[in-house]
Subunit: 340 residues, 2 copies
Amino acid sequence: LSRELAERALGGSRLALSRLLTLVENGTAEGRAALDWLYPHTGRAHRIGVTGAPGTGKSSLVNQMAHYFRLPRPDRQPLRVGVIAVDPSSPFSGGAILGDRVRMRELAGDPGVFIRSMASRGSLGGLAATTSGLVQVFDAAGFDLVMIETVGAGQAEVDIARLAHTTLVVEAPGLGDDIQAIKAGILEIADILVINKADRPGVENTERALQNMLQLAHPGPRTFLHHGRLEQVEAPPAPTSAGIWIPPVLRTVATESAGIEELGEAILRHRRHLEAAGEWDARERARLQAELEIMVRETLFGRWEAQLANGRLAAALDDLAGRRISPWQAVTQLTEGGVL
Amino acid sequence: LSRELAERALGGSRLALSRLLTLVENGTAEGRAALDWLYPHTGRAHRIGVTGAPGTGKSSLVNQMAHYFRLPRPDRQPLRVGVIAVDPSSPFSGGAILGDRVRMRELAGDPGVFIRSMASRGSLGGLAATTSGLVQVFDAAGFDLVMIETVGAGQAEVDIARLAHTTLVVEAPGLGDDIQAIKAGILEIADILVINKADRPGVENTERALQNMLQLAHPGPRTFLHHGRLEQVEAPPAPTSAGIWIPPVLRTVATESAGIEELGEAILRHRRHLEAAGEWDARERARLQAELEIMVRETLFGRWEAQLANGRLAAALDDLAGRRISPWQAVTQLTEGGVL
């Protein structure tokens, strides 16, 4: 069954693709078998992570980018675009972001676009592994670009960003003070910084703060903030000439389609940079290792759970609750013997 | 050494407490030994998770709550308060949230308050385990309340919330559309909803939306939104009378200390509810199980890594990159044999 579905998805069937994505998202044996079979067909798609704090308008931006990549251009054919929207774990989230989903339906008639909304479930490791499986399906089915949109910001985003070749971090003016902390943590993973809603007041402050933090993250001769004034110390190097990529800071207003072309082209330029600098393969390998380790973790834990004698966990919890043993002592007890 | 530190921390030494927290945060063997020794002294502290989207002013709110619990009241002594602030993984985060840290320093002279800022590191499982270790230290050292503040929203917050007896979800008016998705995912874990910055425009909309979503999450006779109008279908049950807790929605303006007393008392009322309803022990047990499973996962993975023959992982990555085997096939190879 799964082999047949996989063949039909490779042949361009949207129905087969949709069913396959469901099998993979649900972690079924058929899904795993299909992934094994599809895997040799993967490795061409450009994985683009889109992350950032709530309220920055990521979904609208993803929607606009999908539109943009569908346009024929003098130098290329329209690109096929897959979108995976990872939502917080909730039965309600489908309804909550209805507005954006409705807008996305404008794309629904286009066979070159496929949007998949995914409720985040189970452990984070599990989520990253599942997302990776979905990306593999899109990749094998011939989608040129796969955008992975994550809501929120933090460790989850960092982990999912590791799946991407190109990571966009989206900001917006006026989202408050402690967004600074997010920026700081997330700047290190950003390949492209987007200030969406750039028609709002305060956009200059946001841009200055981002440039300033970029200067910390990527020291070297470039514009930075000195005693409150923006100073150009030396001409910044062209992004790719020296073999290093300096994350550009781009302004967009997704609801008015402003700045989308520049952003789309920056994404494609980043791919060319990665390939020219030999980083495409390096990122691929780092990603494979991260994924493998997550899967090993889940596999070992699953085997441990399966072999645990009935009642042993409950007895350990009793001892813990009674403060007769400590958590580490319980772990030692529960994993000794025949267990790895 | 660690036994001595632990004894001195129990005796009230702030220096010993600080050193112990560092040993535990760094995952050292001394830290583990200290936790084993301290564990019988734990189990009294009230663990309070404070989470929500960026820009909601969580840090200021935590600061105000710490102040509040330090006040002597007719019915109780001042409470000892520990605070653990979990920041996104970054070397810069310390500077980024400086404003709040400075405000928190007002509390620094008070021996009944101890604030620990923690950079989130490594895997999320690792983060939750480390945070739990820090809470145990505070608990054993006699802190009555331990507040755990997390930046961001999503799976990370859900995992860390599981550490808490009482989870506060903080919102603020006017943070944009896709915050709805966060709310939906996180409402299920909220014991108390706080609308901070409640002097901002739009506070009524935020409150109505929260009440409406609460209605979905906790069906039953109460206020809900019907065709755009707020209607009272039946008198809502008093929060604790029926043995069920309906999350209250409270308004605060932390920067002006408004609404803090009501919030502080709601937190203490929630503890009394948990104890009266027998849920205190149930939550404790659920938490212990979640923590144990995270620690087992990390332990098994650590043993797997330690026993893996040199070059085996690299060879598997070569095969994966060359599409000769699939990820699941690699996992099967790498975990077969002497391995669990």
